[in-house]
């Protein structure tokens, strides 16, 4: 009877075991161990808004695994300021760190939905830790993940001034810097109808009014035309000086935007004339200042889409760093940030080309604007060099071919100029749509790629790698889809070409031999700094690319490529997670560094000075470089290379 009884009670309900078996790291456990452990589990329910851990107060004696629902994890500082650290959802856990370190809760944990948790006592958790090497490894690695998170937090604290400084932008940008376009004026005797025509022509909302000596005496706005002319039924020939506001309020061009905003708010007006050495040089509007302050991505999207003039995009692209800054402050990960930058840049490109095509007429044949390199991989940071090209349908005859060549030459050249104005520097290698070499028909591109792959010349291979990261930026993406499909089919058969690519990945030596803890450039402009891109990020990008080509992966984004390679079982789970983490950390480091430079009015680069890093950042960086070594040894095996 007793034996029978034990059997009855031997296991937890099967659905509980099933949930555990589908969750990291429990999936690593042998069935027996899992059954044993599942019996020690208790299940609790926390309505939305329950604070489970109180920072610095709660004695943590249990490990929590979320079965359904979600929690937010946040930090509250002495001033009561709340910093959101993380969200955890189904299958994720909390409480491990304080259990292992035997400390009180170091963060607040609060349910953001009705949440069910599986709970394991300290004893059960300790048993779990010791149950299998893989589980131990999982928690240890996730501990270093926690360290990475701390490293992120430090990054944010050191390198990005705090949120309140956001408003400081209003205090630092000068009015003279944000005025748009040239000053537009009208003579006081001119008709209100002419005023409206000029305003419509320039897409502006106000005109300054000059007297016959050229002196500025007032301002007429579209609101004046609406309320004083149309609504009152005044004749359109009414001279503007009858409806203008006078005298016009002015502000010094060196005044900061905040002063301008205050002056406008005080006087309930939306326009100020900007004065520079007693001369009126432009008009600043509340709208301009709002744009300056607008740091939400959504706001920027709207602004981009609303632009009717390419020149309007120039300024908007400068706001991208502001948006990114907000994201970094809010703790977004590098991958999300670069995706956001990419989306914003894509919108700017889309708008610019749309307007450009409106201006120059429809193309004679279908085409697609190709983005390559980091743009193609959707990994742009700030002010990434342009890497673009044009692919177009094979023209029907010679006449159409000539038309197309001319059309795309003009389009390519103009577009590049506009992009430069938007702040995207030219490609030093001239891989741009303005270069006739990179404006090809579909067949032209097929042949080019085939040539690169079939008769690989080592130098050419190196220079062509970024082309393999192409994606559609604008226009008919079908043209590129065919090219990509062909490439995915062909590339895996081109052993010699792949071998060249793989070999090239081994030439970069990860800076592990430290000089005062770090290898740095020994001379030149970047003395004592570390090139984060060349020795840190590029090896990851190159690894993901060559493996993707080998296995016919069509994705171009590095993390996306790794994900697909992992799903296809071409790289191990461990390598995958380590690589993702290391790559994300390096990207984050680079982003924060570049943002910092931008805010000091410097041109962003990839050279970080290790002495500016905290110990934990250095440690994480070092670990990331170790991952590169592992990637290289994978390539050696994969391609049967002897290590160079």
């Amino acid at each position: 009877m007793t034996k029978f009884k034990e059997e009855l009670h031997a296991v937890a309900p099967k659905e509980i075991i099933a949930f555990l078996a589908g969750t990291l790291p429990f999936n690593e456990l042998a069935p027996d161990t899992l059954n044993k452990l599942s019996r020690k589990c208790t299940i609790d329910f926390y309505p939305k808004g329950t604070v489970i851990f109180h920072q610095d107060e709660t004695e943590v004696n249990e490990f929590y695994l979320i079965q359904k629902g979600g929690v937010k994890i946040y930090l509250k500082d002495d001033e009561g300021e709340i910093t959101l650290k993380d969200f955890r959802g189904k299958g994720e856990y909390f409480g491990a760190l304080p259990l292992i370190q035997n400390t009180r809760a170091n963060l607040n944990v609060e349910t953001v939905e009705d949440t069910f948790c599986f709970i394991f006592s300290r004893e059960a958790f300790t048993e779990l830790l010791q149950s299998a090497p893989k589980v131990t490894h999982y928690f240890l690695r996730s501990m270093s993940e926690k360290l990475v998170l701390t490293a992120y937090a430090e990054l944010r604290r050191h390198k990005v001034s705090t949120r309140t400084d956001n408003a400081l932008y209003l205090f630092s940008a000068q009015v003279g810097d944000i005025i748009k376009g040239r000053l537009q004026t009208i003579n006081r005797d001119d008709s209100v109808q002419n005023a409206a025509i000029i305003m419509a022509g320039f897409h502006i909302g106000s005109l300054l009014v000059r007297d016959n000596n050229g002196k500025i005496i007032g301002i007429v706005t579209d609101k004046d035309l609406r309320t004083k002319v149309v609504a009152e039924g005044m004749p359109y020939q009414t001279p503007v000086d009858q409806v203008m506001a006078a005298p016009v309020m002015t502000i010094e061009s060196h005044a900061v935007c905040f002063d301008a905003l205050i002056r406008m708010m005080k006087n309930r007006i939306h326009h100020l004339a900007v004065e520079k050495q007693d001369e009126i040089v432009g008009v600043v509007t509340t709208h301009d200042i709002m744009v300056l302050q607008g740091t939400s991505p959504l706001y920027l999207f709207r602004e981009i889409l609303a632009q009717r003039h390419i020149s309007g995009l120039y300024k908007l692209s400068r706001n991208v760093p502001l948006v990114v800054r907000t994201l970094i402050e809010e703790g977004a990960k590098a991958n999300n940030i670069t995706r956001m930058i990419t989306v914003l840049n894509d919108h700017i490109l889309d708008r610019m080309l749309t307007l450009l095509i409106e201006e120059s007429g429809s193309p004679p044949v279908q085409f697609c604007w190709m983005l390559m390199g980091s743009e193609g991989r959707r990994e742009q940071t700030f002010r990434t060099d342009q890497d673009n090209a044009i692919i177009y349908q094979v023209p029907a005859d010679d006449g159409q071919a000539r038309l197309a060549a001319d059309y795309f030459q003009t389009l390519g050249e103009k577009a590049i100029e506009h992009l430069v104005e938007c702040g995207y520097p030219r490609c030093p290698g001239n891989i741009m749509a303005s270069n006739p070499q990179w404006r090809l028909t579909t067949t032209g591109w097929q042949q080019t790629f085939s040539r690169w792959m079939q008769t690989p010349d080592p130098m050419e291979v190196l220079n062509s790698t970024i082309f393999f990261d192409f994606r559609a930026g604008f226009g008919n993406s079908e043209l590129l889809r065919d090219l990509r499909n062909n490439l995915a089919r062909q590339a895996k058969k081109q052993d010699i070409f792949l071998l060249h690519l793989a070999k090239d990945c081994l030439t970069i030596r990860p800076p592990l031999s430290f000089f005062k803890n770090f290898i740095v450039e020994k001379n030149g402009e970047h003395k004592n700094t570390l090139d984060l891109k060349r020795s840190g990020l590029t090896p990851f990008v190159d690894f993901a690319r060559v493996m993707s080509l080998r296995y016919g992966v069509r994705e171009t984004n590095t993390l996306g490529r790794l994900q697909l390679l992992h799903e296809g079982n071409h790289i191990s789970n461990e390598l995958f997670t380590e690589t993702m983490e290391a790559y994300e950390f390096l990207m984050q480091l680079r982003l924060v560094h570049q943002l910092h430079m931008l805010e000091q009015d410097k041109t962003p680069d990839n050279h970080i000075n290790p002495s500016n890093l905290s110990d934990i950042e250095k440690q994480t960086l070092k670990e990331s470089f170790e991952v590169i070594r592992r990637l290289q040894s994978v390539l050696v095996q994969e391609f049967k290379l002897t290590n160079l």
Binding site: H9, P13, K14, I43, F45, E113, F118
Partner: protein, 237 residues
């Protein structure tokens, strides 16, 4: 002869029932829910006819300190008296007659189960039906009854719904389904497959945790609060 028989029967009350009946003589109802132990259980039947049908499986799980204790559970098939080819229940719970033939009989299982329940209060979804089947068997086999106070999650769900409605001034929405699976979905609980006594018991346990903690936010804190709330509901209908 007759009197001897009846005396013997009174004496011979099965010890497990004797213990059971003693547990609840003077139950203090004024403690918060977390201080009671509960057994959430469900039975699968050969059919819905009280006179004719029998229990074919029991699933139960314990709740202590308002947490489900996964390892303290009870699950078994029960061999009914008549094993027919298939009953109306077979198509619901999908327990085959072959599985049942190998199962222990209720006479063996019942003391086991009552022992497992110990001094816990019972919880079930429409619990009165499960209890009536148990007590029908208990009476027949042991001439005894179980006396565990019961909480019905169906009724608690009605209380909870009413509490929510009170705040919206929109009292009776008769469209609400109080079926276990429907409630679980409506409350966005983890949902298990139906018609397995163990999983239905577990589902009911989740539902109970949900309701207990939600009702606590509406100031229903002690056992008595829940009993009273459940009764007042009965009065409305």
């Amino acid at each position: 002869m007759f009197s001897l028989f009846s005396r013997r029967r009174a004496k011979a009350i099965h010890p497990v029932f004797a213990r059971n009946n003693s547990y609840f003589a003077d139950l203090d109802q004024d403690q918060p829910l977390s201080s009671y132990e509960f057994v959430v259980f469900d039975t699968e039947l050969t059919g819905m006819n009280y006179r004719r049908d029998e229990i074919v499986s029991i699933g139960a799980v314990k709740i202590k300190n308002l947490q489900i204790i996964a390892g303290e559970n009870f699950q078994t098939y029960v061999r009914p008296h008549k094993i027919t080819a298939a009953t109306e229940g077979t198509f619901i719970h999908r327990i085959t007659p072959q599985q049942l033939a190998k199962a222990p009989s209720l006479k063996d299982i019942l003391p086991e189960f009552i022992d497992f329940c110990g001094s816990s209060l019972l919880i079930g979804h429409y619990v009165s039906m499960d209890v009536s089947f148990i007590n029908k068997a208990a009476k027949k086999m042991f001439s005894a009854n179980i006396k565990n106070p019961c909480l019905d999650t169906m009724r608690l769900a009605q209380v909870y719904t009413e509490t929510c409605w009170e705040q919206y001034h929109d009292r009776f929405n008769l469209q609400v389904s109080y079926n276990l699976a429907d409630l679980s979905r409506a409350y966005k609980l983890p949902v298990f497959s139906e018609h397995d006594a163990m999983l239905d018991a577990l589902q009911t346990a989740y539902l109970f945790l949900f309701l207990a903690k939600k009702l606590k936010q509406h100031n229903l804190i002690t056992l008595r609060d829940l009993f009273k709330a459940g009764q007042s509901w009965k009065n409305i209908f």
